[in-house]
Amino acid sequence: MFVVVIGGGKVGVSVTRTLLALGHELVLVEQERGRYERLEEEFQHRAIHGDGTEIFVLEQAGLGRPPDILVAVTGDDEDNIVICQLAQEKYGVPKVIARVNDPRNEPHFDLLGISPTVSATSMVLALVEHEVPQHELVHLLELRKENLEIVEVEIKKSSAAAGKRVEDLHLPQTARLISVVRDGRAEIAVGSTELHVGDQVLAILEPGSEDDLRSVLLSS
């Protein structure tokens, strides 16, 4: 598949890495120069610098082909709305996925026919979680309608899960591991995947199972 991702933040980068690892064709657009330069090192020509709400930038990203999926995950809800409207209505992109930063804006996305949306917890909360390491579980996405959330956990030296295979963990019924990022490379978590200290693990879970997941992955 050909996928265009607008917004090179944590979510955009994770999506890009994961889909690239799955063998898909990706283009990632980032507006901020410094961040773009870091992305270019990792993704080379797949990273594009520019404002993804500008039509010439979208065309540079290949919207004219059009992509099979467009993912709008910038930090601005109005930008994500406009990107999705342009993608759907000007370029006929068959599927768009938008991030909602402020849950109060969710009705605007619905009104303008943009779905599915992924409602992130507030940017502030996400930033606080990044700043406060003892919080341990970083919320990346909330799939509001589906009542699911995606979190990131780093396997610590003290974690009993370090050195274990995924199939040997006693994960709660309401949680599954998605992928493991090690040395910058993402790999889908399967039963035989072994967890190492320092691994960044993505997990999907039902809200309310955070404590169970935390204790399986992090307690000693």
Partner: protein, 122 residues
Amino acid sequence: MAARLRSEGWEVVVVDESEEALGRLGPNWPGEFHLGHGMDTSILEQAGIADADAFIASTDGDNTNIVIAQVAKRRYEVPAVAARILDPARADFYSGRGFNVVSPTSTAIAELSESVLSAGGS
């Protein structure tokens, strides 16, 4: 814009994120002023959008104006809606979608070209 409509006898309510905007309206602004973001429907509702005859989205963000103009038109069914869109390409795309698009950039290009061409011709 608000001051002019007011002087023409309209009842005008202004919404802005910054209190400085109230200062720009002059010391004796007689109309209502609501502090808040235009994307926030609770602020728009406090400002009376549901009963408005006209709605003008003229923040300094094109995309904000594009979104709230559509919200005013589709959700609140305001009869006359206008949005300021600086980027001529987006202005083109959103023209003819139920609200009036005003593109100061396109207007300036047209006027500047016109004035240069007429000066050259004289």
